[in-house]
């Protein structure tokens, strides 16, 4: 079926920027304007913004720890509105069904769950299978696992480590590799309460730096498109900008993605010993062309924090709001779930908010800074429209800042920053750049051949939050799934994976290891497509050429 979106303001930074005109969809692909054919259906989108579907590279939407968050905090998500009959459980708040609908409604069509420990991969994929409409992927977390740490201790070769990483990625059906406080979760089991880049993991005698370097190398050697996705040490601590700077140096010019850098942009100035060092960090990121970052913006309100950085979560549990938490010493990383309310009136929270915006605004290249709140850690993803509005309006930022403690403006540079994001930069950061970073060449843009994932927004220059809160139309694989801000029906999204090549002899070794250490068949933990409701929804995105 041929569909014409007529007369829209097409924002497509990967293909030359902005133009006004028609966009054609044939079945599930964007096509060139057909000659001598009439569209089967036409939507007049004159005056509206047309972008590719949004891509969120870092949002904790599924898995055992996220589910524990749901069960820990029933009081935060009581039902209020009825589900419509054709969208079962869409009104079940915090459910996977609601997640898919809310993302689609905002015009997002691909979301990456960035923190899945191998032994919870099956659980995560089951949840993703129940997350409708959007395409999904997981990042597989390594770096606190006994097998890898033992390999490093024993001085095994880079190729052996790559074999291990490759088989873990395939066994968990991951798109990429994530490392969370490398060695820190294991050190916490040995009672470490802080863990930095050059600290040594007890028992194994390897440093966090060595773990990161080994995983970074393995990801490169395996030709996985997405670079190592790193959650650094010392998250959330005053003065931790030094950790971020040292980690960037440790990357040695090789590709590295640093997650939620807002949480690493803190200095120690001022009477409270807590200040923004975002300007310093942004300058370093601008200079380090090998590095990409996502921000992990803080927005105000109730949320819960969920992380496989169990050391950090334990330390943070004393500030839980409301005061309850789960600390899980799981196989390898484990995790922690700690509820938290970011308050505008709280000096620390307000500085965090400002730090995130400074990073967005001071990092020059929208191809290297990614739009995240580290959902739900900095804020729920439902705050995206408000955050986009803040990036696009200096006046709006000034209004928000005026409502915060005065000392906040003194401890940050935010008030002095004039930059306002353009729609082209927004589309780069939320569409084109994520597709490039994840290795998804047919997404994030609107050239012929791209997937027909298109979001159309009302062009409300006075209220950008309104623009992005509820799309006018959203097409997923050519199927109109959102109309006037409402999801019309479910469809099954795909799960994206990467399948690197490696020496299969590692399999026998790992089977024996599982028999000995876990006393259970390794098969128990593997993600078999037939264990999922729809085994046919995986898509191999290919490797870096």
């Amino acid at each position: 079926m041929l569909t014409c979106l007529r007369g829209g303001r097409i924002i497509d930074p990967a293909n030359g920027g902005e133009r006004t005109g028609d966009l054609f969809i044939e079945d599930d692909r964007i096509v060139a304007p057909p000659v001598g054919r009439t569209a089967d259906r036409t939507y007049d989108v004159t005056g509206k913004i047309v972008m590719a579907g949004g891509i969120d590279i870092h949002s904790h939407i599924a898995g055992g720890n996220v589910n524990t968050g749901r069960l820990l905090l029933p009081e935060l998500h009581p039902g209020q509105t009825p589900s419509s009959a054709n969208l079962p459980l869409s009104a079940a708040r915090w459910s996977t069904f609601e997640t898919g609908c809310l993302y689609a409604k905002m015009g997002f069509t691909t979301v990456v769950e960035p923190a899945v420990s191998p032994h919870h991969a099956l659980h995560a994929h089951l949840e993703l299978a129940d997350t409708p409409i959007i395409d999904k992927a997981i990042l597989t977390v390594l770096g606190n696992d006994d097998f890898l740490l033992s390999m490093l201790r024993d001085g095994e070769s880079a190729s052996a480590i790559a074999d291990y990483v490759g088989t873990m990625l395939i066994g968990t059906r991951g798109l990429g590799v994530k490392c969370i406080n490398a060695g820190g979760a294991t050190a916490f089991k040995y009672n470490a309460r802080a863990f930095s880049l050059d600290d040594v993991v007890p028992h194994y005698g390897v440093t966090s730096r060595a773990i990161v370097e080994a995983l970074q190398r393995a990801v490169i050697d395996l030709k996985i498109a997405h670079p190592l996705h790193l959650h650094m040490n010392n998250l959330g601590i005053a003065g931790n900008v030094d950790t971020a700077l040292a980690t960037m140096e440790a990357a040695r010019g090789l590709p590295l993605h640093l997650a939620h850098v807002q949480f690493y942009s803190y200095g120690t100035e001022g009477k409270r010993g807590f200040s923004s060092a975002a300007a310093r960090l942004a300058a370093a990121i601008n200079a380090a062309k090998n590095v990409t970052v996502d921000v992990g913006q803080v927005m105000f309100g109730q949320t819960f924090t969920v992380s496989l950085d169990v050391l950090r979560q334990y330390n943070g549990s004393r500030n839980a709001r409301p005061n309850k938490w789960v600390i899980f010493d799981g196989d390898a990383n484990g995790g922690g779930i700690v509820p938290y309310e970011y308050r505008r009136s709280d000096f620390y929270n307000a500085v965090q908010w400002a730090c995130g915006l400074e990073l967005f605004l001071l990092i020059d290249d929208p191809w290297r800074v990614f739009f995240t709140t580290d959902h739900p850690n900095g804020a729920p993803f439902t705050t995206y429209p408000d955050l986009l509005a803040l990036l696009m309006s200096r006046d709006l930022r000034a209004q928000w800042l005026a409502e915060m403690p005065r000392s906040v403006a003194e401890m940050t540079t935010l008030a002095s920053i004039a930059r306002e994001y353009t729609l082209d930069e927004i589309a780069t950061m939320t569409r084109a750049a994520p597709a490039k970073l994840l290795g998804l060449p047919d997404r994030g843009h609107l050239a012929p051949g791209a997937r027909a994932e298109v979001a159309i927004y009302d062009d409300d220059d006075n209220d950008r939050a309104h623009t992005f809160r509820a799309a006018h139309l959203v097409f997923k694989d050519g199927d109109l799934v959102v109309r006037d801000g409402d999801v019309t029906h479910y469809r099954a999204g795909r799960t994206l994976e990467s399948r690197p090549q490696f020496d299969g002899s590692i399999e026998r070794r790992l089977d024996a290891y599982y028999d000995e250490v876990y006393r259970a068949p390794r098969d128990l933990f593997m993600v078999h497509a037939k264990a999922l409701p729809r085994p046919d929804l995986f898509e191999d995105v290919g490797l870096r050429s």
């Binding site: 599924a62 055992g64 996220v66 589910n67 749901r70 069960l71 820990l72 029933p74 998500h77 009581p78 039902g79 209020q80 509105t81 009825p82 589900s83 079962p88 459980l89 009104a91 079940a92 708040r93 915090w94 459910s95 996977t96 069904f97 032994h119 919870h120 099956l122 659980h123 089951l126 129940d130 006994d146 089991k189 040995y190 009672n191 007890p202 028992h203 334990y314 549990s317 005061n323 309850k324 938490w325 789960v326 600390i327 010493d329 799981g330 196989d331 484990g334 250490v517 876990y518 006393r519 259970a520 098969d523 128990l524 933990f525 593997m526 993600v527 078999h528 037939k530 264990a531 409701p533």
Partner: protein, 366 residues
């Protein structure tokens, strides 16, 4: 669809007829309760989807224990460790309550209580303390270095005294009791990685919370975590699945089209005994439904039935993990795991039958 024995009012029927009768019964009922006692993830998913369609209620017979544990978490907090991590690291183990190995017969082996922890910095045999022993479970008693007997009435006070003693507070105990407790408190503080194993069936929620408080206190200076021997593993399967699908654990009602969780309102037994519910879909490996279900017609999915009068429709299904592959909660890993069929058969799964019932409802609606 392949089939096992099916019946309506004890009369053998083909599967399709049983499915249609089940759909009719559900369609005619004011409120159907789905008791997902022995289900894999696929079965629970199908039950929730069907319950959503008909405005039913989801519960599990293990909810009382599961919610007792969950109440501690959602009221206070929890430390949890996997059995593998515990086996490899715990140099100190505190066992709490009786009946541990009755509920979890493999516990000693899985936790390697007689072994040296592989990943401890100074691997030595574990120090094992036991409070709340009842004189049984000899194999466990033989492993314990220090045991304090206590029944369910005195155990909570003992846990409280231990927490107070650990915190350096005065404890109002008889000298002999205090003398028994002191070495235990000192032993816990010497741990590098300590493990508390408890039986939630022998403790109330407040006692479990006190235990978590003790563990929280210990974590200020050393590392400690806990492991529950649990109730039914399948209660956890339903809790996890219901968690992501509805946001809530079992005892959730879907009558208003959005989920509502209320442990009292949506308890299957109360709903049936009070007359609020008038049909039960019961998925279980047991041969007879509980006596309290006698007021309502039962659609039984599971093993062949022994012939209880109120079983209106019976559909024999395969056992997950035996007759067909399954995903279910695995106690040994504390996660959802994949179980290959050990004796693959053509018996339908709970999910298949529930989906057929849902499809039958759709056809009738059309």
């Amino acid at each position: 669809m392949p089939q096992g024995a099916c019946s309506i009012d004890g009369r053998s029927v083909p599967l399709a007829e049983a499915v249609r009768a089940a759909a009719d019964l559900i369609a005619a009922s004011r409120l159907s309760v789905f008791l997902v006692d022995d289900c894999d993830v696929a079965g629970v998913r199908a039950a929730i989807r069907l319950a959503e369609r008909v405005g039913g209620v989801i519960d599990h017979s293990g909810s009382e224990i599961a919610l007792r544990e969950l109440d501690v978490m959602r009221g206070f907090g929890k430390f949890i460790v996997t059995p593998t991590e515990a086996r490899q690291r715990a140099d100190t183990v505190l066992l709490v309550g009786s009946g541990l190995t009755k509920i979890w017969p493999e516990m000693i082996q899985v936790l390697g209580l007689a072994e040296v922890p592989r990943l401890a910095l100074q691997p030595e045999r574990r120090q094992i303390f036991w409070i709340g022993a009842d004189g049984e479970e000899e194999s466990l008693a033989n492993l314990a270095n220090h045991t304090i007997r206590a029944g369910s009435e005195t155990l909570p006070g003992l846990i409280a005294a231990l927490r107070a003693s650990n915190a350096g507070r005065h404890v109002a105990l008889a000298v002999s009791d205090k003398n028994a407790l002191d070495p235990l408190a000192e032993g816990l503080q010497r741990a590098c990685f300590g493990l508390v194993v408890y039986n939630p069936s022998s403790l109330d929620a407040l006692a479990i919370e006190m235990l978590m408080g003790l563990v929280a206190d210990l974590n200020r200076t050393t590392r400690f975590s806990t492991l529950s021997v649990g109730g039914s593993g399948n209660a956890e399967t339903s809790m996890q699945t219901s968690g992501w699908m509805t946001g809530f654990p079992a005892r959730t009602g879907l009558g208003r089209t959005f989920p509502e969780h209320d442990p009292w309102r949506f308890e299957a037994r109360r709903l049936i005994e009070s007359g609020e519910a008038d049909a039960l879909v019961w998925i279980s490996g047991e041969p007879n439904p509980p006596a309290w279900t006698s007021r309502v017609p039962v659609i039984a999915l599971g093993a062949e039935q022994a012939g209880a009068k109120n079983v209106k429709v019976q559909i024999t299904i395969g056992q997950h993990g035996r007759d067909h592959d399954s995903v279910e909660f695995v106690r040994e890993t504390q996660s959802l795991g994949f179980r290959r069929a050990t004796h693959e058969s053509s018996l339908p799964s709970a999910a298949t039958v529930l989906d057929e019932i849902a499809a039958s409802l759709s056809r009738e609606a059309v």
